[in-house]
């Protein structure tokens, strides 16, 4: 350190006045994976920010064009990797819309239950990470504990904790296990208890509220113009939920509320997710109650569904069925379709173009977190640097979905 210059007249020293360029680089604990924000700061407040995404771009849409329709499932899994079941369900529904088939009732309830469990785990991750970045480590650990219970259940059902690639066109890979109903109810009870505890801990904490309340406000008009959907849009006060507006599977037959925020700030986005977890738990309980215990999981169409392996090794017909579906790919009729479901972050859309063969011509994944991240600029401009953390956390940008 240089020695103090005692003869310096402080009034004559010029303080630097140009705005400072700070690079909150892609490798940063608060950047949720890999997002680079180049900020121009004037003191503490952000005058301009350039949000640069794409560090997790893996070229999924191009890769889908090189395989078959059934081989797209692992790719969509790894889009929103904290709620992979919702992606699987979304893509299967898109393919089934193109084929014009509907899965059996048992499968519909099963898909709903697994999807809502995935949504709960998505919100647990988002809120837990947000709390942790503000310094509240305990709620993060509690929420991760709850998430782990869900993942253990997923492992029992699908064989993998995350990215299970469990969905299939025309059904699911395997039927529910015998203990699914019992375990699902138990898990959902535990998770709700943990969510209550976390809310008690955080909602009464002055520091937490000060950091979130009134921070990162976005107007309704801006949110709609930015194409936001999901919890971010609902926190802005617009009760748009694909499950209610355009019901699919059995969502029209279950009861659940749509939490809507008032102030459209970070606290609202946080609380909307807390409430949504409770609503999802409600849905899971109703699904578990109403799901039939017997019946087929897959639709009975040899063009689409793989046969039993024991049959494949023994009979020529099953061999042919297996062969045609695996080698040539299940064929979707030529045409285009746009199918949308409520993903963890909003409207997860699949725009698919088929040329009639087993290879996809174009699979476009409409990523809700891509548009949420596009709004980050508007949200944090004129906020202080410290507010970037809760703002970005409340948007729930999932790198896999944003960049694909």
């Amino acid at each position: 350190m240089e020695p103090l210059d005692v003869e310096l007249d402080e009034t004559e020293v010029e303080l630097p006045t140009e705005p400072m360029l700070v690079n909150v680089g892609p490798a940063h604990p608060a950047m949720h994976g890999t997002v680079r924000c180049v900020m121009e700061l004037s003191g503490e407040s952000i005058r301009r920010v350039d949000v640069q995404v794409g560090y997790l771009h893996r070229g999924f849409e191009k890769m889908c064009e090189r395989g078959t329709w059934g081989q797209v499932f692992p790719y969509v899994d790894r889009c929103n990797y904290v709620s992979p079941m919702l992606n699987n369900v979304g893509f299967s529904l898109a393919c089934e819309k193109m084929l014009g088939i509907e899965v059996p009732e048992r499968c519909q309830w099963y898909r709903m239950a697994l999807g809502e469990l995935a949504r709960i785990s998505d919100h647990l991750t988002c809120d837990g990470a947000m709390a942790m970045e503000l310094g509240a480590f305990t709620p993060f650990l509690w929420m991760v504990k709850a998430r782990d219970m869900i993942w253990d259940l997923m492992e029992e059902e699908t064989g993998a904790r995350m990215t299970h690639s469990f969905g299939r066109v025309g059904g699911m890979a395997k039927p529910p296990t015998d203990q699914f109903k019992e375990h699902a109810s138990a898990v959902v009870d535990q998770v709700e208890r943990i969510v209550d505890e976390v809310q008690n801990l955080l909602y009464g904490n002055r520091i937490f509220l000060d950091r979130l309340d009134g921070v990162g406000i976005i107007t309704q008009a801006d949110a709609i113009s930015l194409g936001w959907t999901g919890p971010c849009l609902r926190a802005a006060g617009i009760p748009y939920d694909v499950r209610r507006a355009h019901p699919y599977l059995k969502y029209a037959e279950v009861e659940f509320d749509i939490p809507v925020g008032k102030n459209s700030d970070c606290l609202d986005r946080f609380m909307v997710r807390i409430e949504e977890m409770r609503e999802s738990a409600k849905i899971v309980r109703q699904c578990v109650e109403r799901m039939p215990d017997t019946g087929p999981i897959n639709v009975d169409d040899p063009r689409v569904v793989l046969p039993e392996k024991s049959q494949v090794y023994g009979t020529i017909e099953a061999t042919i069925q297996h062969f045609k579906i695996v080698m040539e790919g299940l064929k979707l009729p030529a045409g285009e379709v746009y199918s949308y479901t409520e993903g963890g972050n909003g409207e997860l859309g699949f725009y698919m173009v088929s040329d009639g063969s087993g290879t996809p011509y174009r699979v476009r994944i409409r990523p809700p977190s891509f548009l949420a991240t596009a709004g980050l600029e508007r949200v944090i401009t004129d906020q202080m640097v410290a507010d970037v953390v809760p703002c970005f956390g409340s948007l729930n940008m999932i790198g896999g979905e944003c960049d694909r």
């Binding site: 169409d301 009979t315 020529i316 017909e317 099953a318 069925q321 045609k324 080698m327 040539e328």
Partner: protein, 526 residues
């Protein structure tokens, strides 16, 4: 033209057509196994059964059948109309046929498919037909259910050696007799026949004979299932990895239309299949032609040589230019009946730019021809090579031999790999200078001072004129192997090196120039 109604659509037909032939001509596929447009009608597979509307004023002919009633759990008597095989039913004006729109036809197709698979072995993983097998396609499209028989399948002889080219598997055979009819009708050699009946039916050879005529690989081509497989292609490649381009067979001057199947991942050509062309080869190709694809990979010269030392192509081009600087009055251009018109045109123009006016054409030696398809001239483009000179005098191999012997020709720029006679091959070594653009090992390559590797027909699009004067285009399948390039490109390199300009700069220009004199009065055809 008179029409008949098929599934509500009006289809044109010609007098003498059967329903399936008329539908095939209009591009509609009625599922079938044993019918083939080039063979007689057998009507033994029963897959093409269609429902015929009865003549006005009469009811349909109803048959008594037993149908399984789910509710009662037993077979109950029912009635269904008698269906007719579309391959045998002659079309008359006003005929009304229901194919896809009839429930009875759907049921019939599902049943026929079930029966054909009843004793079929679980061979898909090892069967070469997988990926282009009608049993697979039709099962998925028309049946989709498991068979009801729970017993072990009837076991029949497998991997029966039928001859030098074909292997037969009786378990996979559906005894459609396409192979039997082919050998008898198209080739005129009834060496195959059907034996036994029912589920013991199989195809056998005539006693003491082997399947050894000149078109045996066509039996594999007509076989709709994996019963007849070609020894040459067995277990080599899976068809869904192969891509096809339309090409022209290089085996002889008939110029049968073919498909070249290659694997784009490793750029290897795996087989030839015939392509329909009523004007040239109808539906068939001969064995020599089908196996001709091997020449893309066998005996190839892939690197340039200067006096049998391997060099880079740029070096070889320089050396060739040095050699050709002295070419003049006693030089000659030798074109190749094996190469495309584009290659020949480019070399001819190069010769003209160098002031060489003696032109000859050589090619492979003649072989056996017959009245079915094969031509004795085993070169694909003799007519084309002569046409590109646009009327200039072209000598043949005998003339070239005479001229070399007499000393009128001492320097040669040659295109091609083979010459017709062994004497001419000997004489080549007597030349004072020989620059060769060739693709295969042979007398021209061994005698050459400078040898530049040329691509074969499979590595460049080219025009080939057959014995009837028809110009046909063969498309590029794989990228040129090794250092080889299409001969017309090599000619351009040589011209550039020698400071001469040719009347073309790109492949498109060569093609355009060639198409101007690509054919005789028979007319050009793509």
């Amino acid at each position: 033209m008179p029409t008949f109604s098929l599934d509500g659509r009006e289809i044109e037909f010609q007098p003498g057509d059967t329903v399936i032939a008329a539908a095939h001509r209009s591009g509609i596929d009625i599922p079938h196994y044993c019918w083939h447009p080039g063979l007689s009608v057998a009507a033994n597979c029963r897959m093409c059964l269609v429902e015929v509307a009865p003549p006005p004023g009469r009811g349909a002919m109803m048959l008594d059948v037993l149908r399984y009633d789910e509710a009662k759990g037993q077979y109950v008597p029912a009635k269904k109309p008698k269906l007719q095989p579309a391959c045998q039913l002659p079309v008359t004006p006003g005929l009304e046929i229901k194919s896809q729109t009839s429930e009875h036809v759907k049921e019939a197709r599902a049943s026929v498919q079930e029966m054909l698979l009843l004793n079929h072995p679980v061979d898909c993983p090892i069967c070469d037909q997988a990926g282009e097998c009608r049993l697979q396609d039709y099962w998925l499209e028309h049946n989709g259910k498991q068979k009801r028989m729970k017993d072990e399948i009837i076991h029949m002889p497998k991997a029966v050696d039928f001859g030098p080219t074909i292997v037969y598997d009786a378990e996979r055979c559906i005894v459609c007799t396409r192979c039997v009819r082919f050998c008898e009708e198209v080739v005129g050699d009834p060496v195959l026949d059907k034996r036994e009946r029912g589920n013991l039916g199989e195809i056998v050879l005539a006693p003491g004979r082997k399947l050894d005529h000149a078109y045996t690989l066509m039996t594999e081509h007509v076989c709709p299932v994996g019963a007849l497989t070609a020894k040459d292609f067995r277990f080599k490649a899976r068809v869904w990895f192969l891509r096809s381009v339309p090409s022209v067979c290089q085996g002889c001057a008939t110029g049968c239309n073919a498909y070249t199947d290659f694997d784009p991942r490793n750029q290897t050509v795996f087989r030839h299949r015939p392509r329909d062309n009523q004007a040239v080869n109808k539906y068939w190709m001969c064995d020599e032609g089908v196996l001709d694809y091997q020449r893309v990979h066998k005996g190839r010269l892939l690197e340039s040589k200067v006096r049998s030392q391997t060099v880079a192509i740029s070096e070889a081009v320089k050396a060739a230019a040095d050699e050709m600087r002295n070419f003049g009055q006693s030089s000659a251009i030798v074109l190749s009946a094996e190469h495309s018109s584009e290659d020949n045109f480019a070399v001819f123009e190069l010769g003209r730019a160098l002031g060489i006016d003696k032109v000859y054409v050589t090619g492979r030696a003649s072989g056996q021809g017959d009245s079915i398809l094969r031509d004795a001239d085993k070169n694909a483009n003799r007519a084309g090579a002569q046409l590109v000179t646009n009327g200039a005098a072209v000598g043949n191999a005998a003339a070239l031999k005479t001229d070399i012997e007499s000393g009128a020709v001492v320097q040669v720029l040659a295109l091609g790999s083979q010459v017709e006679t062994a004497e001419l091959a000997q004489l080549l070594t007597k030349l004072s200078s020989l620059v060769v653009l060739c693709s295969h090992e042979g007398p021209l390559a061994s005698a050459a001072r400078v040898m530049l590797p040329a691509s074969t027909w499979a590595e460049a699009t080219g025009t080939f004129v057959n014995r009837g004067g028809l110009a046909q285009i063969s498309e590029k399948a794989i990228t040129p192997r090794g250092d080889s390039q299409p001969a017309w490109k090599l000619a351009m390199l040589l011209a550039d090196q020698m400071g001469k300009s040719l009347p073309f700069k790109k492949g498109k220009d060569v093609k355009a120039a060639v198409s101007r004199f690509a054919s005789t009065s028979a007319g050009a055809q793509a």
